[in-house]
C-alpha cells in the first residue's frame, strides 16, 4: 500500500501537466476573482433585492451539482494516479468522471429551464444577470473541460494503456479541478450567502 502510493503521487518539485497550462489556469483564477469582487460590490448596492432574488434559487440543485463535480474530480485524480501506476482502469475512471460531469450539465439545463418557466429570466433584475452570466460562463468551462477529458480518453490505446508521459492527463485533470474549484466558490456566493 505504502509503496503503491509512493508511485501514485507526483514527485516533489514537479509542475502538474506542463507549465503552459498554468498560464491558462492562473489567468482564469485572476479573472474569476474580478468576477467575484464585482458581484460582491453589486450586492452591497442592492442588498434587499439580492437576498430576495437568491431565495428563489433551488439550493438543493446547487448542492447536487457541487456533489457531482467534487466526485467527478475525485475520479479524475484517481485516473491520474492509475496512469502513473500503469493501471489499466484509468480509462474507466476517466469515463466515470465524464459521465458525472455530463450530469452537471443536465442538472444545469433543468435548473435554467425551471427558472425561465417561473419567469426568472436573464434581465429580471440585477441578481439574475449575475446568476445567468456567471453560471453560463462557468458552464462554458464545464463543456470545454468535458471536451478536454474526452480528448484525453481518446489517447488511450485499445488495451486501456497510455503511451508516453502523464503530462496530458495531468494537464487536463488540472483544468477539470479548476472548473470544480470555481464552482465551489460560485455555489457559496450565489446559493448560500
Amino acid at each position: 500500500m505504502a509503496a503503491s502510493q509512493a508511485v501514485a503521487s507526483s514527485p516533489r518539485g514537479h509542475v502538474p501537466g506542463e507549465e503552459g497550462v498554468w498560464v491558462f489556469i492562473g489567468g482564469d483564477l485572476i479573472v474569476f476573482a474580478v468576477f467575484f469582487v464585482t458581484y460582491a460590490l453589486a450586492r452591497q448596492q442592492e442588498l434587499a433585492l439580492f437576498e430576495s432574488a437568491q431565495a428563489l434559487l433551488d439550493r438543493r440543485l446547487g448542492l447536487l451539482n457541487t456533489l457531482l463535480l467534487l466526485t467527478s474530480s475525485l475520479f479524475v485524480a484517481q485516473a491520474v494516479a492509475a496512469v502513473r501506476r500503469g493501471d489499466d482502469r484509468a480509462r474507466r475512471l476517466l469515463l466515470g468522471a465524464i459521465l458525472l460531469g455530463s450530469g452537471f450539465v443536465i442538472v444545469k439545463a433543468f435548473e435554467y429551464s425551471a427558472k425561465i418557466a417561473q419567469g426568472f429570466t436573464l434581465n429580471s433584475n440585477s441578481f439574475s444577470i449575475y446568476y445567468y452570466m456567471f453560471t453560463g460562463i462557468h458552464l462554458v468551462h464545464v463543456l470545454i473541460g468535458l471536451g478536454v477529458l474526452c480528448f484525453t480518453l481518446s489517447r488511450f490505446d485499445r488495451a486501456g494503456r497510455r503511451q508516453g508521459g502523464v503530462a496530458l492527463i495531468e494537464g487536463s485533470g488540472a483544468f477539470w479541478h479548476l472548473v470544480d474549484l470555481l464552482w465551489i466558490i460560485l455555489f457559496a456566493l450565489l446559493y448560500l450567502l
Binding site: M1, Q5, A8, S9, S10, P11, R12, G13, H14, V15, P16, W22, G26, L29, I30, A33, F36, V37, A40, L41, R43, Q44, L47, E51, R59, L63, T66, L67, L70, T71, S73, L74, V76, A77, Q78, V80, A81, A82, D87, R89, L93, E170, G173, A174, H177, L178, D180, L181, I184, I185, F187, A188, L189, L192, L193
Partner: protein
C-alpha cells in the same frame, strides 16, 4: 477496484463532501456576518484542498503552490470584507 479507493485522495474527497454539507447547514442557521464568514472560509478551505490535493500542487514548486495559495487567501479575505453587510 476496491483498493484504488483506499487512498489519500478518497479521504480528501470525503472531507470535501462533509464540508459541502456543513456549509449548506450553516446557511440554514440564518444570515449573520459570522455565518457568512464561516461559509466563505469553508468554501476557500475546499478550494485549497482541491488545489493542494487534487491538482497536486502540494508537490509543485514553491512559486506555483504559493501563487495559488495566496490567490485563495487574498480572495477569501477580500470577499469576507465585502460581505460584511
Amino acid at each position: 477496484m476496491a483498493m484504488i479507493w483506499r487512498s489519500r485522495i478518497t479521504w480528501v474527497w470525503a472531507m470535501l463532501i462533509a464540508a459541502t454539507f456543513l456549509s449548506f447547514e450553516t446557511m440554514a442557521l440564518g444570515n449573520a456576518f459570522l455565518l457568512r464568514s464561516v461559509i466563505l472560509v469553508i468554501a476557500f478551505t475546499k478550494v485549497l484542498l482541491v488545489g493542494r490535493e487534487f491538482m497536486e500542487l502540494r508537490h509543485a514548486p514553491r512559486w506555483l503552490l504559493w501563487g495559488f495559495q495566496s490567490w485563495a487567501i487574498l480572495t477569501c479575505l477580500v470577499l469576507i470584507a465585502l460581505f460584511r453587510t
